[in-house]
């Protein structure tokens, strides 16, 4: 597939997805919007894990920080378009603060450090009831308006979320094509060589981590407005694991990997519901089989089959 055909396919794909909810009922529309929300978080996680090579099991914590920012500030009547950058910047700064001590360690040690952070954030959300509402969470979170048009309707809110997902993806695409993207890949491939070539691995690693966190924060804002209710269990460690699964299943370090991976984690369990009690077992088995036969993720399939011009 050449670049022109690829771009055309992308535009057609986005357009098709944009009109898909017109043929769906309420729950289907909700799932499409939820897919967009998780995609924002997994695109950010792909930057941290796939491109910069830093293992993170704390993405759901940043997702939660963004969501609670939105819930609290939107209920105070702050405008959505002010809350969105505030949540993104807050998560970026928390990502930097966490990164300074945590990124001194690598691989599974880093995974455990971020896991600990996720548990800590979860406990704060659950126990600091005066701010977070505790286990009961926060309800009645308003949805925004755009040019005086209310986005309370699910379909409108889906289009709104889809638009920002595409914008976020475009920003990440531009970032990864810049010299910064090359530096991220260099430090992932060989940090010792990268440093000997003047690449400031500490700074780039921190930024990759913080940008990934900011993406999760943005996703959290859209999540809070989508559900109009949040509670701590939506930001547990298991959700971080699920997001990591989406990145790895789709193809870590491949731009469109999280798209496929998020489809799998959001939609596949729904499609398998007809199996009733067996659906989680089948889902788990499918993931294990995928990891055995396609460790590079779904997008590595063309390479595995030896197709020329395999997707990146």
């Amino acid at each position: 597939m050449n670049a022109k055909t690829g771009k055309l396919a992308l535009v057609v794909g986005i357009a098709a997805f944009a009109i898909l909810p017109l043929f769906l009922k309420g729950y289907g529309v909700y799932l499409c919007a939820l897919f967009c929300v998780y995609l924002m978080a997994t695109l950010g996680l792909n930057l941290t894990v796939g491109y910069a090579g830093q293992m993170s099991l704390g993405q759901a914590a940043f997702f939660g920080i963004g969501a609670y920012h939105a819930a609290i500030l939107l209920k105070l009547g702050w405008p959505f378009f002010l809350v969105l950058p505030i949540a993104a910047v807050a998560c970026f700064l928390v990502g930097l603060l966490l990164g300074f001590p945590a990124l001194r360690v690598q691989h599974h040690y880093l995974a455990f450090a971020t896991l600990g952070f996720n548990i800590l954030v979860f406990l704060i959300m659950r126990n600091e009831a005066t701010i977070t509402g505790g286990p009961l969470g926060i309800s009645g979170i308003p949805r925004p308006s755009l040019f005086g048009i209310s986005l309370d309707a699910d379909l409108r809110y889906f289009w709104f979320t889809l638009f920002f997902t595409v914008v976020l993806a475009a920003i990440l695409w531009w970032l990864l094509r810049s010299p910064w993207g090359r530096a991220f890949a260099a430090l992932r491939d060989n940090p010792i060589r990268a440093e000997s070539l003047g690449i400031n691995i500490t700074a780039y690693t921190l930024f990759a981590f913080a940008i990934g966190a900011a993406c999760a924060g943005v996703a959290g804002v859209f999540y809070a407005s989508l559900l109009q209710f949040i509670e701590p269990s939506s930001f547990q460690f298991s959700y971080s694991l699920m997001m990591l699964l989406a990145v790895i299943v789709g193809g870590s370090g491949r731009f469109f990997g999280p798209v496929l991976g998020t489809v799998i984690i959001v939609l596949l369990p729904e499609w398998l519901r007809f199996m009733q009690n067996w659906y989680l077992a089948v889902f788990g088995f499918a993931i294990v089989a995928l990891m055995i036969f396609l460790p590079g993720g779904l997008l590595s399939l063309p390479e595995r089959l030896g197709w020329k011009g395999a997707s990146k």
């Binding site: 810049s178 010299p179 890949a185 992932r188 060989n190 990268a194 000997s196 003047g198």
Partner: protein, 250 residues
């Protein structure tokens, strides 16, 4: 000993691991544009000496000066910013990047500031220079392939080309001929001579290939058991009785 003004000055560097003296009081200097070879048997402390100079490990005692500045114990990042480059004993390329991207990555950090690079062109303005290096190292036919998919010899060429991409003032090459076929060894020597001529940097080269070192380096140091056993013009070192006994044999 070099007669030109000192560029790199290694002063009585020692590195011990417990009772083992890996480098035991090594001193030498390198002048601007000079190529110095370092030879010696395996375990003689050559790579430890390199790592001590290049901040990969901290020497137990002694010092290293570069252009009059004390660089002892400086991090590889700080050294890179001062124009000191290196290659490693084992292949160190960015396997998932294309050959062209490997070369651009090797030099992009020396172009503008980190925030400015975020908004720079994808090739950081280095595309033309990378293409020249690709042409020079005869890698044009594989320029857009991922480095990790290429042969050992091709990756070795990329590895060396990367070190020279930012036009460093001093390059330390650790066994550039290791695992390279004889025809490539000659090509490599010609390339290094050309880079020395065009870029004007100084090189320190660790190598076991005596033919390569004798043809490339006007000044050779032989290390044995962490110490400098002999140094001087290559023919003189090669004929040295102690060097023959300890390293080259008869």
């Amino acid at each position: 000993m070099t007669t030109t003004p000192s560029f790199l000055e290694v002063k009585d560097v020692r590195k011990a691991y417990g009772a083992i003296k890996a480098v035991d009081g090594v001193s030498f200097s390198v002048g601007p544009g000079e190529i110095v070879g370092v030879i010696g048997p395996n375990g003689s402390g050559k790579t430890t000496l390199f790592n001590s100079i290049l901040g990969q490990i901290k020497p137990t005692s002694g010092g290293v000066e570069f252009c009059g500045e004390d660089i002892t114990g400086m991090s590889p990042l700080e050294l890179a910013r001062r124009g000191v480059g290196r290659t490693f004993q084992t292949l160190q390329v960015f396997t998932h990047l294309s050959v062209r991207d490997n070369l651009i990555a090797a030099a992009q950090e020396f172009k503008s500031t980190m925030p400015a690079r975020l908004f720079a062109a994808p090739d950081a303005g280095l595309g033309h220079h990378a293409d020249e290096m690709i042409e020079m190292f005869r890698l044009k036919h594989v320029a857009h392939l991922k480095a990790g998919t290429l042969s050992y010899g091709q990756q070795k060429l990329i590895d060396i080309a990367m070190a020279f991409m930012p036009a460093p003032r001093l390059v330390l090459l650790d066994e550039p001929c290791a695992g390279v076929n004889p025809s490539l060894v000659d090509q490599l020597r010609e390339l290094l001579c050309e880079l020395n001529r065009t870029q004007g940097g100084s090189f320190v080269v660790i190598e076991h290939n005596m033919d390569f070192i004798m043809k490339l380096c006007p000044h050779v140091i032989c290390m044995v058991e962490g110490k400098v056993l002999a140094e001087g013009p290559p023919a003189e070192v090669q004929a040295n009785r102690h060097v023959l006994e300890a390293y080259l044999g008869n």
